[in-house]
């Protein structure tokens, strides 16, 4: 199936059907563009305003990439700390949960007092994205085959060796699952962060374009910005899926051809 053209054609067909359905809804209900613009109008706007939109997209993508990097680093680091002992996990997980559920919108002003705008946006995006990495990696680190664990114990493996050579590989499929969730979250985290704490004006990200367009009731442009976010999301997901597949294809069921 890997080589079948269907693998690429069908998703494209589904997307096409979606766009056609969207167009049909707009046409049949005769919706004005300020309620729901037609796909054609959105694409037109995208082309017309591509300079400013693409520049904003780059800003947002940069934040996303950074946030994802830190989410991975922070999530895995925390998971490793939690993995040192169940008691540590019990003690510190509540703090991670607090971080996860704190609405960034609410604490952004506080962050703005002490952090630069860019850093504040990044912290917002990070807060949104790190938890799935942490939770899934922790789950994976705790799912080690007990026989292999015994083997490592017998071989006199240090905590560190057991971690790096046994628990981390075991956690890999779980971690990669968390990463795929975190990819999208880092993107909306970046958008929400921009809304909550982001600088505005010329050099700003897609969030500002959305707010600005909404304020000006330029809904086609707002949708163009949303479209870019969707495309970025799909791209991020595809890249992360590819990474997963490359990392697991030799050994994990989820990545094998006939899965």
């Amino acid at each position: 199936m890997e080589t079948s053209p269907l693998r690429w054609l069908l998703p494209v067909a589904v997307m096409a059907a979606l766009v056609i359905g969207w167009e049909a809804i707009v046409d049949l209900n005769d919706l004005p563009p300020y309620i729901l613009p037609s796909p054609a109008q959105v694409v037109e706007t995208l082309i017309a305003d591509h300079a400013v939109l693409l520049q904003s997209m780059l800003v947002t993508l940069r934040t996303t990439a950074l946030a994802l990097t830190f989410a991975v680093a922070g999530g895995v680091a925390l998971a490793l700390i939690f993995a040192s002992a169940r008691i540590v996990e019990f003690s510190l997980f509540p703090i991670a949960v607090i971080l996860q559920v704190t609405p960034v919108i609410a604490i952004a002003p506080l962050m703005l007092i002490y952090l630069s705008t860019d850093t504040a946006v990044l912290v917002c995006a990070w807060i949104v994205a790190f938890f799935p990495v942490l939770a899934n990696t922790t789950l994976g680190l705790n799912s080690v085959d007990p026989n292999l664990r015994d083997l490592f114990r017998l071989a006199g493996a240090s905590r560190w060796q057991t971690l790096v050579q046994l628990r981390l590989p075991t956690a890999l499929p779980y971690f990669l699952g968390g990463l795929r969730i975190a990819g999208g979250l880092a993107l909306i985290g970046a958008v929400v962060g921009e809304i909550a704490a982001g600088s505005a004006g010329q050099g700003s990200g897609l969030a500002f374009r959305i707010v600005e367009s909404a304020y000006r009731l330029n809904i086609p442009r707002m949708f163009a910005a949303l479209l870019l976010i969707s495309l970025a999301g799909i791209l991020i997901y595809a890249v992360l899926s590819l990474i997963s597949w490359l990392a697991l294809r030799r050994w994990h069921e989820s990545a094998l051809a006939n899965g």
Binding site: Y34, I113, A200, V211, Y215, R216, N218
Partner: protein
């Protein structure tokens, strides 16, 4: 004139939670002015997000409280069939609030400014064009004054009628206030917008709503507003008497509602001259496109009739 037929049901959407800045409308509800004009009005309070705005063109609400004329211009640009039929505020209450050491408006150019995204997309562009402010000095304002209080070297946006009180109470100092309207940002505010279709097909209904609202505002400012305030507090349990008193005092002090043209034409007054002046400024500031037909954004059909002028004290 009171009619025997059943009152027309209309819905009026504001753009923020209930507060004294909406007082006139609440007044008209509680003192029976709307009823007298054959209207059964439901007020739908807004929130931090201006959700009510889109509900107007789709017909979920009949009248909407617009913040300023810029939004009305956008509607024309986007071919949204709505227009402004009256302006309850002659001046936009938008203010820049600064620490006491700031002497002149120009001094703000060297300060960090906390401006909301909407503000940045609107009046701030004018500040850039007319006064040489820059975007790089802006940090986002999220309707929380703490960052301003924490940073001596900053200023923030606000409504003249609300934020200054919070700043006084928490910061323990009297802030410097710069009303944008007095610096040249001469838009009307707290407008009544409705669908063009309603103007065409039921001008009588529109006229009745505008007239009753104007009378409501006169009574709120100059009459007994206790009941209106009760209703505001019911819609917004956070509201305090102190806040309301402060807001009313500021509205009067700065002539937000009743000043200039209203002395002759009554509350709600609008003129072509002032519209043109504001439009030209915004075009110069590149906030709006000079090509749009701004005259389509409003109609003078329902105002400047001196309705209720006798109620002023």
């Amino acid at each position: 004139a009171p009619a025997a037929r059943a009152a027309d049901k209309v819905t009026f959407g504001t753009n923020w939670v209930a507060q004294a800045e909406h007082g006139g409308f609440y007044q008209a509800v509680v003192d029976g002015t709307y009823a007298k004009y054959g209207l059964d009005v439901t007020i739908v309070p807004g929130g931090p997000q201006a959700n009510n705005r889109l509900l107007l063109p789709v017909g979920k609400i009949d009248f909407y409280m617009g913040a300023n004329m810029l939004q009305a211009f956008s509607s024309v640009a986007e071919e949204i069939p709505t227009e402004v039929v009256a302006a309850m505020f002659q001046k936009d209450p938008q203010v820049l609030i600064a620490h006491p050491d700031v002497k002149t408006f120009e001094d703000l150019k060297t300060r960090t400014l906390f401006i909301s995204k909407e503000g940045l997309a609107s009046y701030y562009q004018w500040l850039v064009a007319d006064y040489g402010f820059s975007e790089s000095q802006v940090k986002p304002y999220t309707f929380n004054a703490a960052p301003f209080l924490a940073d001596e070297n900053s200023a923030m946006q606000g409504y003249i009628t609300s934020e200054p009180l919070a700043v006084e109470k928490q910061g323990g100092f009297k802030p410097k206030l710069f009303l944008l309207a007095d610096e040249g940002f001469d838009t009307y505010s707290t407008t009544i917008e409705t669908r063009t279709e309603l103007v065409k097909e039921n001008p009588d209904l529109v006229q009745r709503f505008v007239d009753a609202s104007i009378i409501g505002w006169y009574n709120y400012l100059y009459g007994d507003n206790t009941k209106a305030n009760e209703l505001i507090k019911k819609d917004n349990p956070e509201m305090t008497d102190e806040m309301i008193a402060f807001s009313i005092a500021k509205m009067k002090e700065y002539g937000i509602v009743d000043s200039g043209d209203t002395r002759t034409m009554g509350i709600g007054a609008m003129t072509d001259a002032k519209m043109k002046s504001f439009f030209d400024k915004m075009v110069a500031a590149k906030v709006v496109d000079g090509g749009i037909d701004y005259k389509k954004s409003y109609t003078l059909q329902f105002v400047n009739k001196g309705v209720g002028k006798d109620l002023a004290k």
